[in-house]
Amino acid sequence: MSTPTSAAPTTSHVELRPGAYADSVTLLQVSRSVQALDGVVAAQVAMATPLNVDVLLEMGFEVPAEAGPNDMVVALRLAEGTALDAALAGVDTALQQAGRRDEGTAEVAAPRTTGSALRRAPDAVALVSVPGPSALVEAMDAVDAGRDVMVFSDNVPVEQEVALKRAAAERGVLVMGPDCGTAVVGGLGLGFANTVSPGPVGIVAASGTGCQQLLALLDHAGVGVSSALGVGGRDLSAEVRGLATREALRRLDDDPEVELVVLVSKPPADDVATEIEEHAAGLGTPVELALLGPGQPDLTAAAERVLRRLGREVPAWPVVGSAAAPSGGTALRGLFVGGTLASEARLVATAELGDGHTFVDFGDDAYTGGRAHPMIDPTLRLEHLARAAADPETAVVLLDVVLGHGAEADPAALLAPAVAAVTRPVVVAVVGTAADPQDLDRQVRALADAGAEVHLSNAGATRRAVELVKGARA
């Protein structure tokens, strides 16, 4: 309480303003702002109702006897030497300001949780890319609402993945992920996804760039894809046991457009493989398994098998430009942005060349801590490219470029000049479709003009690089 210290002398002023009116709340605000003025010890501006008169008397003001409920009373207690005029001017200003209208904020704030957003958008699917420790919570909002969800986030503990997918399975909800980079749902690309035409193939993929390679090859062969549903790299593990794969297979089996389902994954845990194969056998739509790993066909071979099964012709996979024979060195240096593309290259090359070669995945957690994925931010790989080019051991450089929604708008803009500066042969796999926003042809031409030999097939690019390394050794 701004009670005057007993020693400080004050003067009081009370005036009636008959006929003046403001509501009690306005006057509370006016009193408060006047009280904040310099030299004002106490202020009460109020209609002179019996209650307010009592309050004023308690505050030690003398109120004229004629004061009635229709009079405004202005009561001020001022520190000695304070000008009354200034204080009264302050009252008038405060009264004017209180009468002013605030336009308010009509704008509706953005939703703060996935659940809140889904309440406002009843048909939406959810796309979750918050940090791993919070991903389950946001994704569970979608499951609660009975909506499909793609979880792009990584670093989600496997027990959380199991809990999420169990809840989803009960509700018939599809959980794509966690750590799902790519999905095409009825033609809509989510995450890193290529633009594809609708068609007879449905894909269930536990691998993002593996799925993208398949999309690119099928697109080139003129075969459309109705949906490509990611399930996350651990879905066929012994812990998760294909919970999302089953739901994804069910969705594609129900889609009358889909004639053939392709399941792309690392080889599942043994008993899970049996379960999924049994499950697939019970579906009305045939399922082609494209399992990745040692002793398995590569992605390009899988695409060819799909084409043959559909009775389509297998085209020659395009190659633009031509790498010259290496001038020295013995090592193959593979620098990748796609994890599955890096492993595929390692498998293909190691079978031919043995150890001693490098296949770096810049999308690996070790390289993404605190920075964007290399499909968005190419800086780190460009640095390593320069280093590999300067290394006398390097015989051939092998790269991938992944196009599609979400990826860098013009990867060749920085990569082509960097390639041009490399004196070793450079082979590039450009994974993309004709309708991708980056313009596949233009990207391929720019890299070929810079001296690279550009393949659509990653396995093809790797085999070519292997051949060049072998040539250097010979």
């Binding site: 703060r112 957003a117 939406a124 699917v125 940090p131 989510l190 979400g406």
Partner: protein, 473 residues
């Protein structure tokens, strides 16, 4: 599969842009990291297989409650309160830790019960603690505004859920200014309380019983539905509700001045003037109606719904459906608002009262949008009021289809505060409140807005997480 017609994006904007580039509308969640240290508990509770259905049951139980006014009687009869027993607002507290207004109200209550002649002598009585005991209203199916002190001779409203017969109770509202619930205990305070016990209580009892037995009990939940469309938010503004109650009880009150055991007509007139002239009279019906609804959700394992928010002037406490009777407490905050006379923030006691049960049930501060008349009382604009109600929807489990807000296109009030959503968003419940003077005996010093201390929500979340059954492997 058909393409989704819309996408909700939470996280990287780039992924939202990629969807927007494909000409599909994207709703972007304004996601921010949760309250510090809550990620693991949030994930555990989110993954609790009981949670979704438990919360659905809790919401159903709350919305399925209808509060009717079935009786008015002294606390000694209704709650079995005996001489020396005192109820108070908020979580449990001792005299040693009690704040000024609670002490003042207890002292006045002791004088009212004749335990002491002069309220000032009561301090020694409570310090010794021999012949007196303190207990929260909430532990006795009751709620009390501000200090919330209930003594055996005080008359209380009895609200009953028609379907189950469950009951809650609350004292009669004394009005504003120098009143016991704000910690005042002067002669005029005690005189008013005695009149309420001698005249108002018995008169209301007759009227309430007459109405109950003839037309059926007053539908308090129904009045709340109407008053929310008449500019009341039922915490700091109860004007329409009070007058509707008077409309429902008035004829029976008037008739009680006739026949055997007739009440003096002057007393009837005084009682009607008192009720009609006290804009907060209905608050003491809104509060037990809210408690009656929320109590229906108590004890639902796995539910993350807050079933009580209450303050004793020292601590702010919450109880949660899925954690039994445990209180999660932290220091009560001082409200931000406007002050009466020349009182200022230094004169105000920290937040006090069970009245935050209204916000817990989705009205009061949660229904600010429907009460534009009082937004400036708490220092805001109409736009702020709309934004507040919308913001409270972010932490609520459901909307109340009966309690709707016309200016928000009749959207239901935000119902059922979700502990997990508070921890996820950091949005704290917004409470409209009166402010008591910090010194015992002062009374009301202002009104304003207040929030709970943030850390009680992570505490409650942790307790929920500890109760999650281990997942089958």
């Amino acid at each position: 599969m058909s393409a989704p017609t819309a996408v909700v994006n939470v996280g990287a904007d780039l992924l939202a842009d990629a969807v927007a580039d494909q000409a599909v509308p994207v709703s972007r969640v304004d996601w921010r990291p949760p309250m510090e240290g809550t990620e693991a508990d949030l994930a555990l509770v989110a993954a609790d297989p009981r949670r979704r259905t438990a919360n659905e049951r809790a919401v159903e139980a709350v919305l399925g409650t209808t509060a009717t006014l079935v009786d008015v009687a002294p606390a000694s009869e209704l709650l079995g309160l005996e001489r020396g027993q005192f109820l108070h607002a908020g979580p449990p507290i001792t005299w040693e830790r009690a704040s000024g207004p609670l002490r003042g109200a207890l002292m006045g209550g002791a004088a009212l019960e004749g335990l002491v002649e002069d309220p000032e002598d009561a301090a020694a009585l409570f310090e010794s603690g021999d012949s007196v005991s303190l207990d929260p209203c909430h532990h006795h199916d009751s709620v009390g505004p501000m200090a919330g002190v209930v003594t055996p001779s005080m008359w209380m409203f009895v609200l009953e859920d028609a379907a189950t017969g469950r009951r809650t109770h609350c004292t009669l509202n004394e009005g504003l200014g120098k009143v016991l619930r704000y910690g005042a205990y002067g002669p005029e305070v005690l005189q008013r309380l005695r009149w309420m016990g001698d005249v108002l209580g018995p008169l209301l009892q007759r009227a309430v019983r007459t109405v109950r037995d003839s037309a059926g009990p007053v539908d308090v939940t129904g009045i709340l539905t109407q008053m929310l469309q008449m500019g009341d938010e039922a915490h700091n503004r109860n004007r329409a509700g009070t007058l509707m109650l008077l409309r429902d009880l008035g004829p029976a009150m008037v008739l009680s001045s006739r026949g055997p055991d007739a009440t003096d007509a002057a007393d009837v007139a005084e009682a009607m003037r008192f009720v009609g002239g006290n804009d907060h009279f209905f608050l003491n019906l809104a509060m037990p109606a809210c408690k009656l609804a929320l109590d229906a959700a108590r004890g639902i394992d796995g539910s993350t719904m807050v079933v009580a928010m209450a303050r004793n002037g020292t601590d702010f406490g919450i109880q949660v459906a899925g954690t039994g009777d445990e209180w999660f407490t932290g220091p009560a905050q001082v409200a931000d608002g406007l002050f009466l006379g020349d009182y200022g923030p230094d004169d105000a006691n920290p937040d006090i009262g069970d009245s935050a049960i209204t916000e817990t049930a989705g009205i009061g501060g949660f229904a600010m949008a429907t009460a534009p008349a009082i937004v400036r009382l708490v220092g805001g604009s109409v736009g702020d009021a709309l934004a507040t109600t919308r913001r409270m929807h972010e932490i609520a489990l459901a909307e109340n289809p009966r309690w709707s807000v016309p200016v928000l296109e009749f959207q239901g009030t935000p119902t059922g505060i979700d502990v997990t959503k508070v921890c996820r968003t950091g949005i704290l419940p917004q409470i409209n409140t009166g402010m008591a003077g910090a010194v015992a005996g002062v009374g009301q010093v202002g009104a304003g807005l207040v929030t709970p201390p943030a850390d009680i929500f992570p505490k409650a979340l942790h307790a929920l997480a500890r109760r999650v059954p281990p997942s089958p492997s």
